[in-house]
């Protein structure tokens, strides 16, 4: 057993929108939908990213936010980074599913969608130029906050409508935590199971350091995907997250820090 980064070559980079790129690697990774890897830029830092492509191609889809993603965005095909993993649990596959993705949250949901039979996919973004994978999933229902593409409004508005017409047994979601929290609340009121993929700052990625803890759950190990039973117990869900020192702050404060 070892957990050491393996150096992989970036063999293709696709620009998904002005702020998001997908990086493809020359290494196959056996992973289940929802699992993530730790990506290492030697000398800089190491961060978790969901696998957005698994199988013939292996890739992560990344939004340019802070120091780490900026350096990643400067990389070209042929450049190398380190990868370890896959880590974490995965989405449990169920029939009659609805998938709600906000922004970059589509990343871990992508390989899930490819493994589901006829899921109803809701893909949201702030505006048209922030959409990701709308061509990869042409059947997805698109929303933008400003109405610049698809339906105007939040993904959660669409979800409510969908649940009125369509029998759904599970809602899978990933995106900003306030969005996921809303999705979960909708699920609860409709008595539908929910599976949400959470994001927390990580160090080890394999369950020993305690950095990613939320109410006794390790996001890197028992998560990142949590179902309703766990989400109900997790006061921290939509509530708090930990900075690098372990200090507990509100999720929104955490997101600001993380992107700095």
């Amino acid at each position: 057993m070892s957990e050491l980064p393996e150096i992989v070559k970036i063999i293709k980079i696709t620009q998904e929108n002005p702020c998001v790129k997908t990086f493809f690697f020359d290494k196959r990774i056996q992973a289940k939908p929802g699992q993530f890897v730790m990506a290492w830029i030697p000398g800089l830092d190491e961060k978790p990213f969901s696998l957005s492509y698994v199988g013939k191609e292996t890739g992560i889809t990344v939004e340019e936010k802070g120091k780490f993603t900026k350096r990643l965005f400067q990389m070209k095909e042929g450049d190398k980074i380190g990868i370890r993993g896959p880590y974490g649990n995965s989405f449990g596959l169920k029939a009659n599913a609805c998938v709600v993705a906000g922004g970059c949250g589509i990343a871990p949901l992508s390989t899930l969608i490819e493994n589901l039979k006829n899921p109803f996919v809701i893909l949201g973004a702030r505006s048209k130029d922030r959409l990701i994978f709308e061509k990869r999933f042409p059947n997805a229902k698109i929303t933008t906050d400003d109405g610049s593409f698809g339906e105007k409004g939040f993904v959660t508005d669409v979800l409510k409508n969908v649940l009125r017409d369509r029998k759904s047994e599970v809602i899978y979601t990933c995106g900003p935590e306030v969005m996921m929290k809303k999705v979960f609340e909708i699920c609860e009121s409709h008595k539908i199971g929910c599976q949400a993929s959470l994001e927390r700052y990580m160090k080890c990625g394999f369950g020993v350091c305690g950095q990613c803890e939320v109410n006794g759950f390790r996001v890197c190990k028992e998560g990142p995907v949590f179902s309703s039973e766990s989400l109900r117990e997790m006061k921290g869900f939509g509530g708090f997250a930990r900075l690098k020192s372990g200090e507990r702050v509100s999720v929104s404060e955490y997101i600001q820090w993380r992107c700095a």
């Binding site: 057993m1 957990e3 980064p5 961060k47 380190g82 369950g207 350091c209 950095q211 006794g216």
Partner: protein
Amino acid sequence: METKLCGIKLKNPTVLASGILGTSKSLLARVIGNGAGAVTIKSISFEAREGHKNPTVIAFEGGMMNAVGYSNFGVAGALKEFVNLNELEAPIFASVIGTEAEDFVKVVEGLKGLDFAAIEIPLSCPHTPGFGTLAGQDTPEKTFEITKAVVKKTKKPVFIKLSPNTKNIGEVAKAAEKAGASAITAVNTMGPGMVINIEAKKPVLDFKVGGVSGPALKPVAVRCVYDVYESVKIPIIGAGGVLTGKDAVEMMMAGATAVGIGSGIYYRGIDIFREVCSEISEWVEKNGYKNLKELVGVAHE
């Protein structure tokens, strides 16, 4: 399986080692729920610390290596996080770090109101400038000074945690005992070590070097416990590569009253505590021992 450590009753001799999953009360509760006889929080300094950059924790073939760099939320964070610890069903040990003796004292006093059963003082981290071996806290002199200062300010049992890298670990243990320590924790991580990724041509840990734990540490840890047992009368918490009940029995035979488990969580999962305990019972029964006390130090005979 009941074990008494400095007057503290543990339902079994397994103790969560500091720095592993000790970041929150809920995680401590979960570790206790998985069978730990006692748990130690991640080390707390007076001010919050971010620690080193990632990668901070890796596993190589023979063990684990970390340079977390004592990231922690400081006394202020601890006061928020570790409230009402007596709700938990096992004793909780604080872990307190500092650069000078007075820093340790400040933290100990800061945590005074919290329900810790004992205070562990690591003088032995091998990868954090200003602390542990990099600050020379592992000499008998410094150990005596810091222990003395802390013992003066608290009525709780004080455990001094030693480094396997120190030449005369017995001498250091004696200094701690003389200064009033109630127990010795042996040992912290070894080395430090380094793993270089040859494709990247760079050390993997961002701090370049890190303390070695897990299986690679075990034989050295066992020898340290053996040496400490020959040097002092106070009890020993033996840590370093304990993965199985047999490892725990080996530590006890070397002289440990209780055994710390950290890296083992990586190898066997969070319920390693329950598993190790049932393996110990099984072995003890099969070999006709009546209680664990009979095992402690028998390898010295």
